[in-house]
Amino acid sequence: MMEDAATSRQASWFQATARQRVEGLLDPNSFTEFLPPSERVRSPHLQLFDLPSAFDDGVVIGRGALDGKPVLVAAQEGQFMGGTFAEVSGAKLVGLLRATRDHKELPQTVLLLLDSGGVRLQEANAGELAVAELMRAIVQARCAGVAVIALVGGKAGAFGGAGLTTATCSRVIISEQGRIGVSGPEVIETNKGLEEFDSQDKALVWSTDGGKNRRLIGGADAFAEDSMQGFRAATKSLMAKAPAFNLETMQAEHERLAARQERLGACDDAVSMWRVLGIKEPEAIRDMDSKSFGVLANSIKEANHDAR
């Protein structure tokens, strides 16, 4: 496929393309793609706008193995139209989840390599529908016993529909470079003003939406080093123990979120939240390396739970 350096276990997840991530994450030569580029399943809309299309519409789906265990995989290409949800790319994601829901002979673990700013504006209605259908398909698959794990660490982050999607997954893995949110920083600034959120203040943006904060306040279950190996190791550890999805799980999640709101609701930035969580030197978090941070995050009670 691509040059080896970009898919080696040490290669950066953040810098990689969707295809490189799939290759770097899974066992060597284990991946079989569904609807590969040669099928040319493309967006029927982009040419109306004189925009280039992609032979896979920016989403790679298929099956493979991780540490010898069978998995289904979907990867969004964040560098094509912002990794956006659209008619074809959305149908590929939804179809994969529905297939694993309905066919027990398929792998019952789905890895979603999210990298998206949300809905593709040129196909907005189809994109919004795709997000809704995907969330429903994930919930139905989980009800049928499938584990759905989100991996977030790409350049586009996981915003809009991708951010909502993470909240429906069994487990979420994030790296320091990963970001999860619903409205992106620019959207918040435009609608609520500079005083509410300064999208140019990178330190503010990354400490709020970024992987370390998401991990500490319980929005992600595992923190991965920014490498193929980092995400592979985190996925391996979570694949073994995806939680049950039932009424008790949902009630526990609602209680957790209510408690989080009560505990952290008055904080006006990430550092003050980290202080409330009992971290002695919250200012030091930003510069902490992945390994030390992972150990610290595992010791914070708020970050470990079986709900969601």
Partner: protein, 79 residues
């Protein structure tokens, strides 16, 4: 397939050995001569007989297109 942020190149070995076809989809007009020059140079350098090459262009520079074509045909040689 090789891809850049603004360029996608799909290579398939589906043609007779003496043929090579290059299909280019680009939203930009007025660069026919540039495309011809890049493809001609590539065909002379790489002798890509048998390859059907499909390009989705989003405004990539000619040198990037050339590099990706060379990389792609080298990858096809390895297989």
């Amino acid at each position: 397939m090789v891809a850049s942020g603004n360029l996608e190149v799909l290579l398939e070995r589906v043609l007779p050995d003496a043929a090579c076809e290059v299909n280019i989809a680009t939203p930009l007009s007025g660069f026919d001569e540039t495309w011809k020059a890049v493809v001609t140079e590539f065909v002379e350098q790489a002798s890509p007989g048998g390859l059907l090459i499909s390009i989705n262009d989003g405004g990539a520079r000619p040198d990037t297109v050339y590099l990706r074509l060379i990389q792609g045909s080298a990858l096809m040689e390895e297989k």
